[in-house]
């Protein structure tokens, strides 16, 4: 199970690469309700792909269609070149890690992990060896004789992972793999999961509602809403170059204002908004006079008590309305003269000289941001 040396970390950019999973025009309806609406997606060998969205967005339904527990109402799923339409779950080259883990309560850890291999009629000594190796990987060798109910939540999660991984599937499907763990353990396990994925080289498809989890784990993320993909891209693309308001708002936080394009040149766009005229460099495809939205991430805004020395675009004055001190950084809610509230986050880089804050309530402050920091959204 040696890690395959990956010559290319971005297979989705390679023009003639053959995707491992092809989802072509897949829809799923439950009665009148459309859970998944005509989605197309290619996932490549070795990826750790996240389906991210709120509850009821269709991400779990899509995952269950990959596993074979649900049949698409229309469309096609191809895994490793084979059409999965008529392939039952027990013959698919996928394995799933369930949100509830679904460990067999009447079997020991060892038997749980060996269950899948027994179904494949793997020789006995090979089963023993593979079970031993995988339990070593997830550090559960000492617990192999225990029953699931004698394990902690984190240990159960690792048994579930081992049970799915031991079959060396082409694709491992993970349904909210970390949701049942507490925060500290979740953060630690995120990295473990990514490391294990790298080690075994299996393609992971992860469903999660936790954007932090998605950002840490994934090579690429598909943001889903109402059964459709809102955007597919790397964590950086999704965060810094969102396609629309939903993505900008769902991933991280953003100040989003509506506006009208007043200048549309090759090297910049000027949008008239409630925050004043916003200057965005790099021409972005839009038309003059059209209604657009501008999103600015709170951490991209500079906050200062001193008025800027020279007038430039993207400057605005306000009053500090509220402060959220988080230790590592602070959140400032700044009220503008027209009543709009703007979120600004600032890292607390220096330890203050005394116990009083640098900027405090009702201080007059000046906000500014780089021409490249604002994001123009057409929808």
């Amino acid at each position: 199970m040696a890690a395959e040396p990956s010559t290319n970390d971005t297979p989705w950019l390679v023009a003639d690469a053959e995707p491992l999973i092809r989802i072509k025009g897949v829809s799923k309806k439950f009665g009148d309700f459309t859970a998944v609406n005509n989605v197309n997606l290619d996932i490549y060998q070795g990826e750790l792909f996240c389906l991210l969205g709120g509850s009821g967005c269709g991400k779990t339904t899509l995952l269950r269609m990959l596993a074979g527990f649900e049949t698409p109402t229309s469309g096609q799923i191809i895994i490793d070149g084979v059409d999965m339409s008529d392939v039952p779950p027990y013959e698919r080259p996928t394995n799933m890690m369930f949100q509830s883990y679904a460990l067999f309560p009447h079997m020991s850890v060892e038997k749980n992990v060996a269950f899948g291999l027994k179904q494949d009629k793997v020789p006995k000594d090979e089963i023993a060896e593979r079970v031993h190796n995988i339990l070593k990987l997830v550090e559960l060798e000492d617990f192999k004789a225990r029953k699931p109910q004698q394990l902690s939540g984190g240990q159960r999660q690792r048994v579930a992972l081992a049970r799915a991984l031991v079959k060396e599937p082409k694709v491992l499907l993970l349904d909210e793999p970390l949701a049942a763990l507490d925060k500290k353990l979740r953060e630690q396990t995120q990295f473990e999961l990514a490391n294990i994925q790298e080690e075994v080289g299996v393609t992971f498809v992860v469903v999660t509602h936790d954007q932090e989890e998605a950002m840490t784990l994934s090579t690429r993320i598909a943001v889903m809403d109402k059964g459709e993909f809102q955007q597919i891209g790397t964590p950086t693309e999704i965060y810094e170059f969102p396609d629309n308001r939903f993505v900008a708002d769902f991933i991280g936080s953003a100040n989003i204002v509506e506006g009208k394009v007043v200048e549309n040149d090759a090297d910049h766009v000027l949008v008239s908004t409630d925050l004043g005229d916003i200057y965005i460099d790099h021409g972005q495809p839009t038309t003059k006079g059209s209604r657009v939205w501008v999103a600015i991430r709170p951490e991209k805004i500079q906050l200062s008590k001193e008025a800027p020395k020279k007038a430039a675009p993207n400057q605005i004055a306000g009053k500090v309305d509220d402060i959220g001190y988080l230790g590592g950084m602070s959140i400032y809610l700044v009220r503008l003269e027209n009543g709009e509230i703007v979120d600004v986050t600032t890292p607390n880089l220096l330890r203050p000289k005394n116990k009083s804050q640098g900027i405090t309530w009702e201080d007059d402050v000046y906000l500014s941001w780089e021409p490249s920091s604002a994001m123009l959204l057409n929808k």
Binding site: F69, Y90, E91, T94, M96, F98, F104, H106, F115, A164
Partner: protein, 322 residues
């Protein structure tokens, strides 16, 4: 004046704190007593209505038939000078052992009960599974249908089966009318009728524990098994069946134990042709008025049922401990 009032007030408050302390102490005492009471009630119940009758029956089984009222000899013989002699007579048990009729009847009872239990399980298991898997409204309706027969008298239901199974009964008449048969099939007063009666009557006792057990079963376990490459039939034997074993055991015991001692069904549906221990016991007790022998029959039946179960539970307990 004011001082004395204060004094009085102080006294009152003192008394009140004292009494409240007393009350809380009482409450605490009651609470600890309550735990004892909760445990004692079932013990007293079992003692009064199970253990005491059992010892009375056991005592009678060790006596001798006597033409008197009650129709058996006393265990304590006072005829000597002052010291009572204890007379234990094992003749009844020896008789049970020597007369092969009893042995055959016990065997036949156990056979009929076992086969009936198996048939109940065979039909009850899929029925319980179907109920668990049905929608919430259908589920309530089906559960109600399972319990519904209890609303009519047990005796009435057995008589109804006589009407259905008789030579001139509903089923035979229907088959003749349809033209499938020319002569009535003999269905009443044989073992077949007894099986029908027992399976029909005891089916709810199989379905309900199975239902309660299956309801708790996590259906994602089936998905997990399928995902790991297990075909549905294999999943049933490796996952569903072991996990529903407690329900199977509970349901089977609830059917098997009363079916073994069943009296009404073999009497009414089996006529004189089906030997079951309940009928034999009734005969000894009422027709022959041989209370000691009847008591011995009952004691042996109890031992036959309790011993294997105790042994099973002992090993089961050991297995879960390990």
């Amino acid at each position: 004046m004011s001082a004395s009032a204060q004094d009085a007030a102080g006294k009152v408050s003192k008394v009140s704190t004292d009494s409240s302390g007393l009350l809380s102490r009482l409450a605490r005492k009651l609470q600890s007593r309550w735990r004892t009471i909760v445990i004692v009630i079932p013990f007293v119940w079992l003692l009064l209505f199970f253990l005491a009758p059992f010892f009375i029956v056991a005592k009678i089984s060790l006596a001798e038939l006597k033409i008197a009222s009650p129709p058996f000899t006393n265990m304590l013989d006072w005829s000597g000078d002052g010291f009572p002699k204890i007379r234990l007579i094992f003749d009844n048990f020896v008789y049970l052992w020597e007369d092969s009729l009893y042995f055959r009847t016990y065997l036949n009872s156990i056979k009929i009960a076992a086969i009936s239990t198996f048939i109940c399980l065979l039909f009850g298991y899929p029925i319980a599974y179907g109920i668990v898997r049905s929608g919430p409204v259908t589920k309530q309706l089906l559960l109600f249908a399972v319990i519904l027969p209890f609303w009519t008298s047990f005796l009435l239901r057995v008589y109804a089966w006589m009407g259905l199974l008789a030579d001139q009964g509903t089923i035979n008449n229907l088959l003749i009318w349809v033209g499938l048969i020319d002569e009535p099939i003999r269905m009443l007063y044989n073992e077949f009728a007894v099986y029908v009666g027992i399976v029909y009557t005891y089916m709810p006792f199989m379905i309900l524990p199975l239902y309660a057990n299956m309801e708790k079963l996590d259906s994602t376990l089936n998905e997990a098994a399928a995902d790991l490459g297990s075909k549905p039939s294999n999943t049933f034997f490796k996952v569903t069946l072991p996990l529903t074993m407690p329900g199977i055991i509970a349901g089977s015991l609830l059917v098997f134990i009363p079916a073994t001692g069943e009296y009404v069904i073999p009497d009414l549906l089996g006529g004189g042709n089906v030997l079951m221990i309940g009928r034999l016991l009734y005969n000894e007790f009422s027709a022959n008025t041989d209370w000691p022998l009847a008591a011995a029959v009952a004691i042996v039946l109890l031992l036959l049922l309790v011993l294997p179960m105790t042994i099973y539970q002992y090993y089961q307990g050991k297995a879960t401990e390990a």
